[in-house]
Symmetry: C2
Subunit: 897 residues, 2 copies
C-alpha cells in the first residue's frame, strides 16, 4: 500500500520530489538533531492522486490521523483540547519553490473553546490567545476559503479606528479582540455561506484540500509555465506543531543567511523581529532589526543560531537561508533552503567556499550564473530615487549619460570634434547609423525590440541601450523628444540604464564596476575578492571546456578587445562596415550604379586598398589565431536611401520645379533594387554569384593583407566564409571562382599561406538538411543561427516586435528563439547539419557565429552537439568561456537557486 | 579480360549502358534479321578507361583490329584497298541521345589511292568517288581534328563561284572535285600542321579517340548538366560498313516514323531524298520528298521498308523513328529509336496501341506526359508568320486577344459593363488587382517572373499570361505602352501567346482545343480520337492512383469547375478574396483602423454575413466532398495602399495646401503596419492570435454556412486550416479559442456536423521538424510548399526574379524549386513531417496545397512519401490525376523520349 504521510524523522533532503523542498529539508534538519518543531509531511503523490480522483485516495486521511495522534503524543497536547490545545501550521511545499501556491495557515486548531485553553496555557494571556484566533480565522478564511482579504483588513482598521487615531494592532486589548473575532466569524459566514468550522479535524482537512487544489490554481499554473516547471509534480503538505514568536520580549522570529547574500561575505546576515510571528516579518508591519542585534537581546539564542547556521552550511555545502522562531528563549528552526544571492555574491561565495575546501572546483564552477556575468562588468546608474521619464526594453546592459543627438552624423561630429559624450536617440537605427552608434555613449530608440538593429549592434559593441521606449515621441522638426509630459531638447543631458530600461533626465552618477577597473589594470581593484574569484573560476572554466571561444569582431580595435577577453580567434568578421564611411561611399555608389564592367572594376579598384588596410589591422590583432571573414552579405539597396523617403523627395522636387535628374536616377536604381522581402532576396552568395567581381575584390583584399602580414613575420590564419548558401553548387562554383584569385596572389607575392580555408554559413534550413552535400565543398561550417532562426520560424527579426512579446508571454515560443537556440526546431536542424556534414567530411570544423554564441544555454547546446567553437560578441567572450566550462562539467546551472 | 568490342550480332537493345543507344538498337535489329550493314561497337567502358588513363586500355585496339578483319571478311573488301576499298562510318552513341557530342564521320577508309578503287567499284563513277573523298576530308578535318568548318565551306563556295553563279554542289564535275580535294588537303594541313592521314587504320584510330574525347567536351558536359545525365556513363563508338544513298536515282536516304509523330495517326510518315547521303537531309540543301512518294519511285524498297517498320513497331511496341538508305535498290536500316512525338500524338498513339493490344493499360498510361496535358486544353494562336512586338515569359499557357487596359478597375468595368474582351497590361500585379485579372482574357506584365503574383494567379485561374516582357515600357500618363518602337494605346487590340511568351499587335485568329470543346459537350469533338484517348487513359489513371486529388478553389464557380474536372474536394480555399470587393472594403478598413474592440467587432459583424454567403456557395458546389478552408493568411497591410505611393501623396498634398488629415491618418496606419519582410511578419496564425475576433468571425461564417447547408439537406464536410504555424502551442491555443465558437453555433442551430476537422499548414521548416508535437493538436496537415520552399531556401518568390534565371541556367538549384519540389531539401522536410506527424497521430491525414500539387514530378514525390491527397489549381486537376496514376504504376514517365 502506498505510504502517503512521512514523519519528519522518516525523510531526508534528497526526497524533494516526494516531500517537496520544505518537507525534505525539515526532515533533514530533524535527523541532524536540529531544533525543528515536530510534524509530518503529506506527499506530492497524495496530492496528485487527490487531483486525479477529485477526492482523497483511500487511506490517506487515516495516515494523517495516525501521524496527528503521534504528534499529539509527542507534544502532550491534543488538537482542539479546550484546556491545552495542540496548534499546528499547515504549509504547502512543492519540489521547486512556487510563489503561486497556497502558502501557510498558522494557529490551526483554535476554535471558540480552545482559544481559552491556549490563554490558560499561556499564563492567562487572553489577549495573545484571542489575537492568535483572529489571525487564524483571517488566514483560514482568506487562504483556504477564498474570502477576500480586504474584508478582514477593513474590519481590523475599523476596530483600530474606533479606539482613536494612530492605534496599532498591538494596542487592541482582549476585549477589542473578542469583538473583532465575532466580526471576523461574521465576515467568514457572509462570504462562505457557512459557519466557521469549529472542529479542528475539519479545519485540517479543508486546509489540506486547499493546498492540494492550489497546485492547479491559475497563478501556480502560470508560474510553472513561466519557469518551465512540469505540471505533474504536485505539492506536498507540511503539518507542523506551532511555536510562537509573539509570546513576549523573550520571543521573536527572523530570517537568517549563513553569508551575506548581497556581497557574498562570510558573515551571518538577516533580520529579527522581537515578539512577532513570521507573517509580521513578511507583512512589513514593523521594522525588523539587523540579525546581529539579537546577540545583545538574547545572546544564548543567538549563539545557538550561529551554531545551527554553521552546521547547516557544512552540511549543505552552500549558503543557507533559514527561518527561525524563538519562543520564550527557545530557538526553533522552521525552514531552510539554499539561499538566493546577487551575481556578485555568487562569485565571491563560490571562490571562498573553494578556498575553504567546502566545495571542489567543478562545484564552484557550477555555482556561478553565466547569464549574469556580463552585468558584473557594466557601469550602473545610482538612481537614488530619481524618477525615470520613460521606460523601454533593457536591450544592452550598462549605464550611460550624455547629450541628446538625433542623427548618427551629429553623434559622430560631436563626439569626434568636441569630444562630447552623446546619447543617440532615434526611432530605430539602420546600418547607415553605425558610425554614429559607435561614437555614442548609449543608444535610445522608441521602436524596435531586443533584437532590433539598435539592440544587436549595441550588445555587439558593448554600448548600453534602451530600445522600444514607446512613450518617447521624437519630433525631428523641433529637434526634441517628449515623454510623459517632459520635453527633452537636442543637447540636453539624459541618462539611460540598460539594466532596467529606465530613461532619466539629467546626469545621474554612474558607478564603474570593479571587474572592469581590474581588467583595465587598476591595482586596488585587482586586490578585491571579486576579481580574484573571477580569475580563479575562469581558469577552471578554461581548463574544463572543450569548446573554443572566438569573437565576432569587424575591426582591429574590436579584435584586440576580444583577444584581451580570451577570444581564441575571430569566428565572424563582417565586412559590411568596410563598404561604409565617407571615403568609401563614393566608390560603393560607383559600384552599384556601374553600367559597364569597366566602371564596376574601377569601383572595386578604389575599394581594394582601403579594405586591404582593414584586414591588415585585423590580422595583426589576431596574429596566430584563426580569422573567419564573411564576404559581403546584405543586399545592395542597404547602401542606398529608403524608397519612400526618396520617392517623396523626387515628387516634392518636381512639384517645386527643382532639377531632380540625379535624384530620379537614384530613385530608378532604388526601385530596381527594391525588394519585397530583402531578408530572402538578392544577398549573400547570390550577390557573389551575380557580381563575381565583388567577392573577387574582397578575396584579393583579404589574401593580399594576409600575404603582407606573413611577409612581415606574422602568422595570419585565414578562413573565408561564403554567406547564405542554400545549395552545394553555390559554394562549389564560388570556390571555383575565388580560389584561383587567392592562389594567384600567393604566387605573385611568393607567399604561401598555411592556413587558408574556405567554408560557408549554415543559416538556411535547406543548407542544414543538405549539409552532407555542402560539406563536400567546405573546409568549415559556421551556423548563422540568427538567419536560421528567422527562416526556420518564418520570423523576421525586424518585424516580430509586434507579436513576440505576446508570444513569449503566452508561451507560444520556447523562450525568445533569437536569444536562446530553439532546441526542438533550429537545434534539430543544427544537429542534422553537424552530424551529416561531419559524416561526409571528417575534416570539417564547425562553429556558430550567431548572437546565440554568447548565450549560456545555447553554448551548452553547442557543446552537446559537439561543435568545435562558439563565436560571440567581444563582450560575451568570458560568458561563453564560462558557459563552455560549465557545459563540459556536465550540467548547465541555469540559476544559482 | 574485359571485352571492349561487340559485333552487332553479339548485342541487344537492353545493352544501352554498355553499347550506347545506337549500338544496342543496331545489334537488336541485326539479330532480328533486319538489313543492317555489318559493323561493331566499342563499349562505353572502353571510353571511360581511355579517358581515365589518357590512352587506350590494353587490348582495346587489338580487339578493334580483330573485328575489323571480320568485317572485311564478311564484306569481301579491305580497308584502304586501292582497288576495292572497304569504307566505314564512325558514329558516337551514348546511353542517352546527346547532341553535344561528336556525331558521325562517313566514308572513312578513303585516301588518295583508294578513292580510285571506289570509282572503279562504282562503275567508274569518278565523280561519285571524288565527291565521297572530299566529303570525308571535310568531315574528318572538322569533326575529328577541329579544323574550322568555314574554311572548307569557303573553298567549296569558291569552286562553285568559279564555275559561274547558281552552280550547285552537284554541278561540280570530277575535274572540279579533284582540284577541290587538293585545296581541302591543303586546308587540312594549314590548320593541323600535319598532312592528311593516308593510312585508314590511323584514320580510324584518330576518329575513335575523337569520339571518346567528345564525351568530355564543353557542350557535352553542359548538355549533361542541363539534362541531369551522369558524367560517368561514357560513350560507345559504332564502326559500320558504309552504304551509299548517292549512287544514282535507284539510291537515296530517308527518315521514317512508324506513325505520324504530330497527329499520332497510324500511317507511315517520313521524308525521302533520292540520290543523297544522310548528311544532305540534315543539311537541308535539297528539299526532301514525303515518304509516300517512295512508293512510286521504288515500290519494292518501299514495300520492304513498310515491312521493316511493322516488324520494328511490333517488336518495340512503340512508334519507331528509323534512318534508312537505299543503295542501288537495296534497303539498309542505319538506325532506329523510339520516336519523339507531340503531346497530341502521345495520347492518340497510346490509345490506339492499347486498342491494338500492342501495349497493356499500365504501359499506355505511362506513355503520356502529364507535364504536357494542360496544353491540350488551351487555345492556340495561329500566328502564320506574324511578328511579335515583344516576348516575355510563358507564364500561363493559352492564347488570348483583347483590348488593352491598364488597371484592374478598367478591366472589370469594360468586361462587365460592355462585355469587352480585355487584356490587362501592368508592370506587375498585386492582390488588389484580382477582380480585374479574373475579368480579363489575358494578362501581360513587364516585370516579374514565372512565379510572380500575376503568373501564379493566372495559372490558378487558367488565364493565359505573358510575364516579365521587359521590352514593354508602360507610360500611364499617355495610357499607352511601347515595345521595340511600336506604341500601343489603351483600347488597342493585342494578342498574347502564353505558350511562347509572344505578344502581337492586333487580333490574331485563335484555335479552340478539341478537348475543351469536347468537355463543353460538343458532340463532334467528342467523336475525335483525342477525346476518346483522354477519357480512356484518365479512367485507367483514376483506377490506379492511390492519391486523392483536390483543388485549390476560392469561389463557388471555381469549385464547380474543379469538380467537373474530377476534383475530390477542396484542399485549399483561400479566404483573402473574401476581404476584397467594393461592399467589403469599408468593413475591412473599419477592422484595420478600429481603436476599440467594439469598433472591431462591428466590422466583423458587417463581414460575417457576406463571407457566410461565400461559404454556402462553396459547400453547395462541393457537397459531399471535403472543403479545407484556410483562415486569413496575408498581413493586413496588403489591404492598404503602398507606403511609398501614399508618402508621396501626403507630401504633395501638404505642399499644395490640400487637406491631408485623412490621408495622414492612413499613412500613420500604413507605417505602423509596414514590415521589412512581410513574408516573415505578422500574418497567418500570428494575426489570428493578435486579433482573435478575426478568426472567430471566419469560423462563425464557415460553421453557420455549413449548418445551413446541412439543414437544407446537404452534406458539408468542413476542414478548418490555420496557416503559418511554427509551434504546437500556436495551433493548440487557436483550437482552444475557436472550437467553442464552432460548438456553440452547432448547439444553437441544433445541427451536428459529422465532418468538422481542425488542422494546419506545414509551411515553415520549424513546423516540419517539430511535426510530432504539432500533430498532437491537428486532425490534418497540409503542406504549403510555396512558403516552405521560400523559407527553406531563403528565397522570396517576389524577389528571386533578379537571380533565379541565372540560378537555373548554372544549375545552382535543382530545377526551379517553386515549380518542382526540391526533393533533397524541401522534400526531406516534408518526409520528416509526414513520417513523424503520423508517428505521433495515426489518424492524421496529410495533403499538399502548394502550387506543386499540380506538378507531375512533385505529385510523384507526394505519392512516394505516402500523402493522402494533392490539391492543385482547378486547371491542373486532370494533370494531377494522371500523374498520381502514373506514380502508382510505379514509374514517372518524365518524357516520352
Amino acid at each position: 500500500m502506498t505510504k502517503y504521510v512521512y514523519d519528519f524523522s522518516e525523510g531526508n533532503k534528497d526526497m524533494k520530489g516526494l516531500l517537496g523542498g520544505k518537507g525534505a529539508n525539515l526532515a533533514e534538519m530533524t535527523n541532524m538533531g536540529l531544533p525543528v518543531p515536530p510534524g509530518f509531511t503529506i506527499t506530492t503523490e497524495g496530492c496528485l492522486e487527490y487531483l486525479d480522483a477529485g477526492g482523497f485516495p483511500p487511506g490517506l486521511m487515516d495516515e494523517v490521523d495516525d501521524h496527528l495522534r503521534a504528534l499529539e503524543d509527542s507534544m502532550g497536547k491534543k488538537l482542539g483540547d479546550p484546556t491545552d490545545p495542540l496548534l499546528v501550521s499547515v504549509r504547502s511545499g512543492a519540489k521547486f519553490s512556487m510563489p503561486g501556491m497556497m502558502d501557510t495557515v498558522l494557529n490551526l486548531g483554535l476554535n471558540d473553546e480552545s482559544v481559552m485553553g491556549l490563554a490558560q496555557q499561556s499564563g492567562d494571556d487572553v489577549r495573545f490567545a484571542r489575537d492568535a484566533y483572529r489571525r487564524f480565522i483571517q488566514m483560514f478564511g482568506k487562504i483556504v476559503m477564498d474570502v477576500p482579504g480586504e474584508a478582514f483588513e477593513e474590519a481590523l482598521d475599523e476596530a483600530k479606528h474606533a479606539k482613536g487615531p494612530k492605534t496599532q494592532d498591538t494596542d487592541l486589548d482582549a476585549e477589542d479582540l473578542s469583538a473583532l473575532i465575532d466580526r471576523f466569524l461574521q465576515i467568514y459566514q457572509e462570504h462562505t455561506g457557512e459557519t466557521f468550522p469549529q472542529n479542528p479535524r475539519r479545519q485540517l482537512e479543508l486546509s489540506i484540500v486547499a493546498v492540494f487544489r492550489s497546485w492547479n490554481g491559475k497563478r501556480a499554473r502560470d508560474y510553472r509555465r513561466q519557469n518551465k516547471i512540469a505540471d505533474d509534480l504536485g505539492t506536498a503538505v507540511n503539518v507542523v506543531a506551532m511555536v510562537f514568536g509573539n509570546r513576549g520580549d523573550d520571543s521573536g522570529t527572523g530570517v537568517a543567511f549563513t553569508r551575506d547574500p548581497s556581497t557574498g561575505e562570510k558573515v551571518p546576515y538577516g533580520d529579527y523581529l522581537p515578539n512577532a510571528q513570521g507573517e509580521d516579518v513578511v507583512a512589513g508591519i514593523r521594522n525588523t532589526l539587523p540579525l546581529r542585534e539579537l546577540e545583545q537581546l538574547d545572546p544564548t539564542s543567538y549563539g545557538r543560531l550561529i551554531q545551527v547556521m554553521d552546521t547547516l552550511e557544512s552540511h549543505y555545502r552552500d549558503m543557507c537561508d533559514i527561518e527561525f522562531t524563538i519562543e520564550k528563549g527557545k530557538l526553533w528552526i522552521l525552514q531552510t533552503r539554499i539561499g538566493k544571492r546577487t551575481a556578485l555574491a555568487e562569485w565571491v561565495m563560490a571562490y571562498d567556499m573553494l578556498g575553504e575546501k567546502l566545495i571542489d572546483e567543478d562545484t564552484a564552477l557550477l555555482r556561478v550564473n553565466a547569464d549574469r556575468l556580463e552585468e558584473l562588468f557594466k557601469r550602473r546608474v545610482k538612481a537614488d530615487g530619481a524618477a525615470p521619464i520613460a521606460r523601454g526594453l533593457n536591450a544592452s546592459p550598462g549605464a550611460a549619460t550624455g547629450a541628446v543627438v538625433f542623427s548618427a552624423d551629429d553623434a559622430e561630429a560631436r563626439a569626434k570634434e568636441n569630444g562630447d559624450k552623446v546619447i543617440l536617440v532615434r526611432r530605430e537605427t539602420t546600418p547607415d547609423d553605425y558610425h554614429g552608434m559607435i561614437a555614442s555613449q548609449g543608444i535610445l530608440t522608441s521602436a524596435g525590440g531586443t533584437n532590433s538593429h539598435a539592440a544587436v549592434v549595441a550588445r555587439g559593441e558593448g554600448i548600453p541601450a534602451v530600445c522600444g521606449a514607446d512613450q518617447i515621441k521624437i519630433d525631428l522638426g523641433s529637434r526634441s523628444f517628449s515623454a510623459n509630459g517632459t520635453t527633452v531638447k537636442e543637447g540636453d543631458t539624459i541618462t539611460i540604464d540598460g539594466f532596467t530600461g529606465n530613461v532619466f533626465v539629467g546626469e545621474l552618477p554612474l558607478e564603474e564596476s570593479v571587474l572592469e577597473k581590474a581588467r583595465a589594470g587598476d591595482a586596488q581593484a585587482r586586490e578585491e575578492r571579486i576579481w580574484k574569484a573571477f580569475e580563479r573560476l575562469m581558469t577552471i572554466a578554461d581548463d574544463r571546456r572543450r569548446l573554443r571561444v572566438r569573437a565576432n569582431a569587424d575591426t582591429p580595435d574590436q579584435s584586440a578587445n576580444a583577444r584581451a577577453r580570451g577570444a581564441e580567434g575571430i569566428g565572424l568578421c563582417r565586412t559590411e562596415h568596410m563598404f561604409l564611411g565617407e571615403e568609401r561611399v563614393d566608390a560603393v555608389r560607383q559600384m552599384i550604379f556601374a553600367e559597364t564592367e569597366a566602371e564596376e572594376e574601377a569601383a572595386y579598384g578604389r575599394l581594394l586598398p582601403l579594405q586591404k588596410g582593414d584586414f591588415i589591422g585585423i590580422f595583426e590583432a589576431m596574429d596566430g589565431l584563426p580569422v573567419t571573414v564573411r564576404l559581403l552579405d546584405p543586399p545592395l539597396h542597404e547602401f542606398l536611401p529608403d524608397l519612400a523617403t526618396l520617392s517623396v523627395e523626387v515628387a516634392l522636387g518636381e512639384e517645386r520645379g527643382d532639377d531632380v535628374t540625379e535624384k530620379e536616377r537614384e530613385l530608378a536604381k532604388v526601385r530596381q533594387l527594391h525588394e519585397t522581402n530583402p531578408m530572402l532576396g538578392l544577398r549573400g552568395v547570390r550577390l557573389g554569384i551575380l557580381k563575381p567581381g565583388l567577392y573577387a575584390m574582397q578575396v584579393r583584399a583579404i589574401v593580399e593583407a594576409a600575404c603582407e602580414a606573413k611577409a612581415a613575420g606574422g602568422d595570419p590564419k585565414v578562413e573565408i566564409m561564403i554567406p547564405l548558401v542554400a545549395t552545394a553548387p553555390e559554394l562549389r562554383q564560388m570556390r571555383d571562382e575565388l580560389e584561383p584569385v587567392a592562389n594567384e596572389i600567393q604566387a605573385r607575392e611568393s607567399v604561401s599561406l598555411e592556413h587558408l580555408e574556405w567554408g560557408t554559413m549554415i543559416e538556411l534550413p535547406r543548407a542544414a538538411v543538405t549539409a552532407s552535400e555542402i560539406a563536400g565543398a567546405a573546409d568549415f561550417f559556421s551556423f548563422g543561427t540568427n538567419d536560421l532562426t528567422q527562416t526556420a520560424f518564418g520570423f523576421s527579426r525586424d518585424d516580430i516586435g509586434k507579436f513576440v512579446g505576446l508570444y513569449e508571454e503566452r508561451k507560444l515560443v520556447p523562450a525568445n528563439p533569437f536569444v536562446t537556440i530553439d532546441v526542438a526546431g533550429v537545434g534539430r536542424l543544427m544537429r542534422i547539419a553537424s552530424d551529416e556534414g561531419r559524416g561526409a567530411n571528417a575534416e570539417l570544423h564547425i562553429g556558430i557565429c550567431g548572437e546565440h554564441g554568447g548565450d549560456p544555454a545555447s553554448v551548452a547546446f553547442c557543446h552537446e552537439i559537439g561543435l568545435d567553437y562558439v563565436s560571440c560578441s567581444p563582450f560575451r567572450v568570458e560568458t561563453a568561456r564560462l558557459a563552455a566550462g560549465q557545459a563540459a562539467v556536465g550540467e548547465y546551472a541555469s540559476a544559482s537557486a
